[in-house]
């Protein structure tokens, strides 16, 4: 069938990072088209371009035979493209009906006609199979799964010709997932073109008519669903160039396993987002957290750092059961945890403040006497860190925001090393930094482990997990679905288990 939407030779860069490189994509009415690829393959950028959220640097968008440019999300919406993001487009304080009709509310005498709006909302909810949601309920009061259903109803109320779903089912309960399946199949039969991103291979097998695989910002292949085995599909998704040099790993030592674990969790759970996490990290090892983005890795680190309330299960540090209630407590010497957070610009640094202030912030307690900062000691400790991590800053008094991304990340790590932590979880520390600094960080992590720290590394870059970690716990849906170590730790195994395809991995090998 004729494609309704075509993207031709689309390229997009963010700063120096290439997100898409001459990518092609086409979808046809009456088909469900699945987009596949690992983290950072360019899928998200592609759908952002289709829905007008970002503009491509190069390339053409052809809709129904005509070349189009979408400068705003609204342009794409009025052209008949509706995109369902994960929760991004709902206003929590507004009611369900207000949210559904926000773009183009029904009007009478210039004012919003609430009765008509309500009918539209009820019809849209019914079409999405969520008629049990009250149209006047504030969206903020609904569960995540129900909110996602509202998001779907909102997209449907615009009568789109093309519907894009980005991981739309990841937050849904099993009952809602079934409704969405039925709905999507019905919409397809009505002639809608559906673009579907999911990391669940069983969903793709159930729904997709066509599949397109992306890798490194490039289109790899498009094929009819079912014509390729899962193993072949995984093969297409992997094959990132390993461009980093990693420090050698120490050989698996018999002595290591005998050491008392620095950190041990048993059945750690939180709010339906983390389930039964059993994880042990010993001094001297680097334990990786793998899996697709957003499978609970971040929450797991927050739980370790005392940020989450109501965490179930057991947490032991150096053999002692502990209850952590705040980062302030977790960083204390008797616990010795230091979390390098995900977003250095918001959670890690105070950008307008000086390098010195940022370096000493987490360690001010040690650097002060009777509440007064001992500036001599502070300066010495900071200079020490600058040397140890070779942070390139013209001066310790410049705002940390003026440093390069790589040096900012080094400051975040250094600020925590000031406390001499024994357990160091790092949340994707190399995201968006240059290769040279990445290598320095890899070497640093290994050095910290050799000095006796237990390092936990979450990374979205599989090559990094393979190169750096002694063992990797693969997360899926808030659980650890697989442990990989030694020779098993391959990109194929990581991708396959990240997609929760435990059996095909052996067939492919």
């Amino acid at each position: 069938m004729e494609p309704i939407l075509q993207l031709v030779d689309i390229s997009k860069r963010y700063g120096g990072v290439r997100a898409l490189e001459r990518a092609r994509f086409a979808c046809a009415p009456g088909r469900i088209h699945a987009l596949l690829g690992e983290n950072g393959a360019g899928k998200s950028t592609l759908i952002k371009i289709m829905s007008g959220v970002v503009q491509p640097d190069e390339g053409r968008i052809v809709l129904e035979g005509r070349e189009r440019r979408f400068a705003h999300p609204q342009d794409a919406v009025s052209a008949g493209i509706a995109c369902i993001f994960q929760e991004l487009s709902l206003m929590p304080d507004l009611s369900v009906a207000d949210n559904i009709c926000i773009t183009n509310p029904p009007r009478r005498f210039g004012l919003i006609d609430r009765m008509a709006q309500r009918r539209i909302a009820e019809a849209a909810l019914a079409r999405a199979g969520a008629e049990d949601i009250h149209p006047l309920a504030p969206v903020g009061s609904l569960s995540l799964s129900r909110r996602q259903m509202v998001e779907i109803a909102k997209a449907l109320s615009r009568n789109p010709k093309i519907l894009i779903l980005d991981e739309a089912t990841s937050a849904l309960t099993a009952a809602d997932v079934q409704r969405v399946y039925t709905l999507l199949k019905r919409l397809r039969d009505e002639g809608m073109a559906i673009v579907y991103i999911s990391h669940r291979m069983n969903e793709i097998a159930e729904l997709a008519d066509d599949c397109s695989v992306f890798r490194n910002g490039q289109h790899v292949a498009t094929f009819e669903a079912g014509s390729q085995s899962d193993a072949q599909t995984v093969e297409m998704m992997i094959g990132r160039d390993i461009e980093h040099a990693f420090p050698p790993k120490p050989p698996a030592q018999a002595g290591l396993t005998a050491r008392a674990p620095a950190l041990e969790t048993r059945g750690l759970s939180w709010q339906g987002r983390l389930h039964d996490i059993d994880l042990t990290a010993r001094p001297g090892e680097i334990v990786g957290l793998g899996g697709l983005d957003g499978q609970g890795q971040r929450e797991f680190f927050l739980a370790l750092f005392g940020v989450l309330r109501g965490v179930g299960g057991e947490l032991k540090l150096e053999g002692r059961p502990v209850q952590l209630r705040s980062p302030k407590q977790a960083k204390r010497d008797d616990y010795g945890i230091a979390l390098v957070p995900e977003d250095r610009k918001t959670d890690g640094l105070m950008l307008p403040m000086s390098v010195l202030d940022n370096l000493s912030f987490a360690a001010l307690d040690r650097l002060s006497r009777a509440g007064i900062v001992a500036s001599g000691a502070e300066l010495r400790a900071a200079e020490d860190m600058v040397k140890r991590l070779s942070i390139k800053a013209p001066d310790l008094s410049v705002p940390v925001g003026t440093l390069s991304g790589g040096n900012q990340q080094k400051v975040v790590i250094a600020k925590w090393l000031m406390n001499a932590p024994r357990i160091i979880p790092l949340n994707d520390p190399t995201r968006g930094i240059d290769v040279g600094t990445k290598q320095e960080i890899y070497a640093l992590l290994r050095r910290l482990a050799d000095e006796g720290a237990a390092v936990l590394l979450y990374s979205t870059d599989y090559a990094e997990l393979i190169g750096c970690c002694d063992r990797v716990a693969v997360f899926f849906d808030g659980r650890i679905v697989r442990w990989l170590a030694g020779d098993e730790l391959t990109e194929r195994a990581l991708v396959a288990s990240a997609l929760n395809l435990t059996t095909t991995e052996k067939a492919a090998a």
């Binding site: 207000d98 926000i102 773009t103 004012l111 709010q271």
Partner: protein, 326 residues
């Protein structure tokens, strides 16, 4: 559906709470007043209350978009000074003067909005600066208190024909002609959407610039209506920075007591009206109980703290401590 009222109650609980608080305090006031429920007492209370109520309505609009307008008090004063020059003479001249006063107010608000939207400056500092400018202009217009106002108009609006204070009718008219249409317009809806989540509003294709511009312009217009009414009460114009400052701060307090979140996204101008009435009545209440006026700020402060604390109860249920800071 049968549980519609629950959602209605939930949406307007701040306004209902403020209204209930007002009724209790006002009843206490009337019961202890020597003259009791008589036209002069009610009219005096209404004349004072409505001025702040309208300025509080003005403040509500930017606050709903998660902004703030620190210039409302100064626009109020500027309108007062302009009115003391222009709302005089023949009925026709006075009518033209009224239109001019309102246009000045709307222009002030539009300037605020334009700077915030196109200059991308923060509302708090923008309106602090423009408010000072507006005050400077007021001072130029009225270096010393004075001027005059159309007496017939003033008497008609500050009296109580048929026992109902005319000011209350003016307030009702403002609510029906400005707030109700705004609340039900696309722009009013968009303002709430922006206050609730600006990113989500943008992703939904809401016109963010126009919405904010309209909110600030209407705020200026409402503040000018307040200033015009002030002229009818005082029969003169005065460029007083004290009045401007007090009205600005009390308008913010009234908005909060009325159940509107300073974080934006939820609330109504109706709540702010009752918030303003509550603030005004507390002052009078202390007076009838023979408290020294010194106590007034203390009690206003306690009422404000209580109102704000109720809004913070939801934080007890947050399970990710990082969300406490959002």
């Amino acid at each position: 559906m049968s549980d519609d009222w629950k959602f209605h109650l939930r949406e307007h609980k701040g306004a209902y709470a403020a209204a209930a608080m007002f009724i209790v305090i006002f009843a206490l006031y009337i019961l202890n007043h020597q003259a009791g429920w008589t036209a002069p007492v009610i009219t005096t209370a209404a004349n004072k209350g409505v001025l702040l109520a309208i300025v509080a309505m003005a403040q509500t609009l930017p606050v709903l978009t998660a902004g703030i307008d620190l210039s409302v008090g100064m626009v109020f004063v500027l309108a007062n000074c302009v009115a003391s020059h222009l709302v005089v003479g023949t009925p026709l001249q006075a009518a033209v003067g009224v239109v001019a006063v309102l246009a000045v107010g709307a222009l002030c608000g539009w300037i605020n909005g334009a700077i915030i939207v196109y200059g991308r400056l923060q509302p708090i500092i923008t309106t602090l600066a423009t408010g000072t400018v507006y005050y400077g202009i007021s001072l130029g217009l009225r270096p010393v208190p004075g001027g005059d106002v159309h007496a017939g108009l003033a008497d008609a609006l500050t009296g109580a024909p048929g026992g109902v204070p005319a000011m209350l009718m003016v307030l009702l008219a403002v609510v029906l002609l400005v707030w109700v249409p705004y609340r039900r317009s696309v722009s009013g809806r968009a303002a709430l959407a922006i206050g609730s989540s600006e990113a989500a509003a943008y992703m939904s294709g809401v016109n963010i610039g126009r919405t904010k511009l309209i909110a600030y312009t209407l705020a200026g217009l409402l503040a000018a209506i307040g200033g015009l009414l002030l002229t009818f009460v005082t029969y003169s114009g005065e460029a007083s920075s004290t009045i401007g400052g007090v009205y600005t701060l009390n308008s913010i307090a009234a908005v909060v007591i009325g159940g509107t979140s300073l974080a934006g996204g939820a609330g109504t101008a109706i709540g702010s009206i009752f918030g303003a009435f509550v603030l005004r009545t507390i002052g009078d209440l202390l007076f009838v109980f023979d408290f020294e006026p010194l106590w007034q700020p203390l009690f206003q402060g306690i009422i404000l703290l209580t109102a704000v604390s109720l809004g913070a109860l939801r934080l007890l249920r947050v399970s990710n401590r990082l969300e406490l800071f959002k």
